[in-house]
Amino acid sequence: MSRTNPNAIRSNRTANFLIYALCGIIAFVTVYPFLYMLSMSISSPDEVVKKTIVLLPKGLSFLSYELIVQNTQMWRAFGNSVLYTAAGTLSNIVMSLLIAYPLAKPKLVARRFFTVFLIVPMYFTGGLIPSFILMHTLGLYNNIWAVIIPSMASIWNIIIARTFIKSLPYSLQESALVDGASEFRILFQIIVPLSKPVMAVIGLYTAVGIWNDWFTALLYLPNSNLHPLQMFIARLLVFNYSSIDPGSRLKLDSAVTQTGVITQMKYSVVMVTTLPILLLYPFLQKYFVKGVMIGSLKE
């Protein structure tokens, strides 16, 4: 038996050590780029120019953040992102619950039709160009609604909400119906208070999706005043279409410091954009995993 064999125990120890070490390396590799970005953004500008930063910050300077915070372009993009995310997420939660509640009823009229109606687009979509022309036809081109309206509902969220509501005891609805409550009242007074976890799942899925989206803006928003933060960053750091104005304060510093700070501002913008995601991360983890589990239970 392996338990009594000293060789087996030793090889087990070695295996354990290797497994722990490998997992540690994997965890390090996943967070390293973020750590590097953070270190670059808060180190002293002179160290950035000397390229001495590999892992941890050297020196400490928040100058690039101070300059970023004063940048009106960045704030406009930030505000746009907040607006698009809030509007899209709130309406998505409401629309999902409104349709999920009837769909979760065991005897809804034409429920087989509605099921097929929702499944078909999951397998077959019109594709990029038909949607693009549709948005033009609807007059949404170069209009903030081009970002908001399409994100107001999604089939995946509808199915997650329906699966969740279906799992609630039906007797709650039944007794309310017997008491003569309207469907509207049952939904808002009984179902909605019980559906907070699924609302969190849907809300976080949608919010992260909208916050991270830059492609919709590329397709429909040629006006850079309407750009969300991700598009602002894509133009600034990926396509180099635009540069960031460091403001007048920097003129007081040495040329080396100036170069360093201008480099650091790129890292700071990235940190500012990622910060909401990092702050929400504990919730994201909890509710996203929950979402995967509910989603994989669908019939």
């Binding site: 994997i26 034409a110 991360y281």
Partner: protein, 318 residues
């Protein structure tokens, strides 16, 4: 049961009972209306919009058109695409990129889940797993920005190469590095997230199988390869089928961020070509046809793989 009852009713009776149900559920139908309209407009109308591939459509023409007003031109756009010099390059690039990405992104989450499963300390396991899916929540723009930065001529990788006595390489500017960079980004972004589903499957394996195997003297490796892996095989097969059904699709959003004139020969895929032809150049019917071709090819692949797998293993999507 229910169906049988319905079928034996006369037609008029069926309509009448349908109308009665309609009236009974009128409040529910009102609640459903906004989302139904949304799906109808933003999912179904674009499906109808595929007809543009068969029309001589110009911007400003009506979206819905029937008969001669639609100016039907048949499959001309498809023929143009098949005969175009880009056709073979696009199909090769798309398939090669996706197959290579699948080869690397597919086994990593499985291996990672099996590895995590061997960790006894619950806390260490949780910490590693928490880190592993952080990149999944970070946007493509940010990830590409960081990558461009790290790989730039004065980035951290090139600094390390120079410190070791090597010569600095302009990774982003060379076509040969496009595929490795794209694949690495995908592995890094998705492995932790994709491992969740396997970890859930592993958690569902009956524990007495392991104790029985231990009594028989099976070591850890044997327990993993004879119990854990076979137990999660249905999940693996299901995900493999779903993945094969996307081999003609393109992650246009991500590729557009990494693509540049230097790597165009390998980075130009069907998705980016549709974007360029349609959105940039305004050749809407042609671009719609190219997109539709990819969708049909995906569907055929999905169906075929599902058919083959079901014949061989009895597992499948449908």
């Amino acid at each position: 049961m229910e169906q049988v009852v319905v079928q034996t009713k006369p037609k008029a009776g069926r309509i009448r009972s349908f109308l009665r149900e309609l009236k009974r559920d009128r409040q529910l139908l009102v609640l459903m209306l906004p989302a139904v309209l949304h799906v109808l407009i933003f999912c179904y109308i674009p499906i109808y919009g595929i007809t543009i591939a068969f029309r001589n459509y110009r911007i400003g023409d009506p979206y819905f058109a029937l008969g001669a007003a639609a100016r039907w031109i048949g499959v001309q756009n498809f023929l143009d695409f098949f005969k175009s010099i880009y056709f073979s390059r696009l199909v090769t690039n798309t398939l090669l990129l996706n197959v290579l990405t699948l080869v690397f992104t597919f086994w990593v989450p499985i291996a990672f889940a099996l590895l995590l499963n061997e960790i006894a300390s619950k806390r260490y396991k949780r910490v590693v797993q928490s880190f592993s899916y952080l990149p999944y929540f970070v946007s493509a723009v940010i990830i590409v920005s960081i990558t461009l930065n790290i790989l730039s001529p004065d980035g951290v990788i090139n600094n390390a190469i120079q410190a070791l006595g090597g010569r600095s390489t302009y990774f982003i500017g060379k076509a040969v590095y496009f595929r490795p960079i794209y694949i690495l980004l995908n592995v890094w972004k998705t492995f932790g997230w994709n491992a969740i589903i396997y970890l859930a499957a592993i958690a569902g394996v009956q524990q007495d199988l392991y104790s029985a195997a231990r009594v028989d003297g099976a070591n850890r490796w044997q327990q993993m390869s004879y119990i854990t892996l076979p137990s999660i095989m249905p999940t693996i097969i299901l995900l493999l089928i779903l993945n094969v059904g996307t081999l003609f699709a393109s992650n246009t959003e991500l590729i557009l961020l990494i693509a540049n004139p230097n790597n165009m020969d390998v980075s130009d895929v069907i998705g980016t070509y549709v974007y360029r032809m349609g959105v940039v150049e305004g050749r809407f019917p042609y671009a719609t046809a190219v997109g539709f071709f990819a969708a049909v090819a995906n569907f055929i692949l999905l169906w075929t793989v599902n058919y083959v797998v079901r014949k061989k293993t009895d597992e499948g999507l449908w």
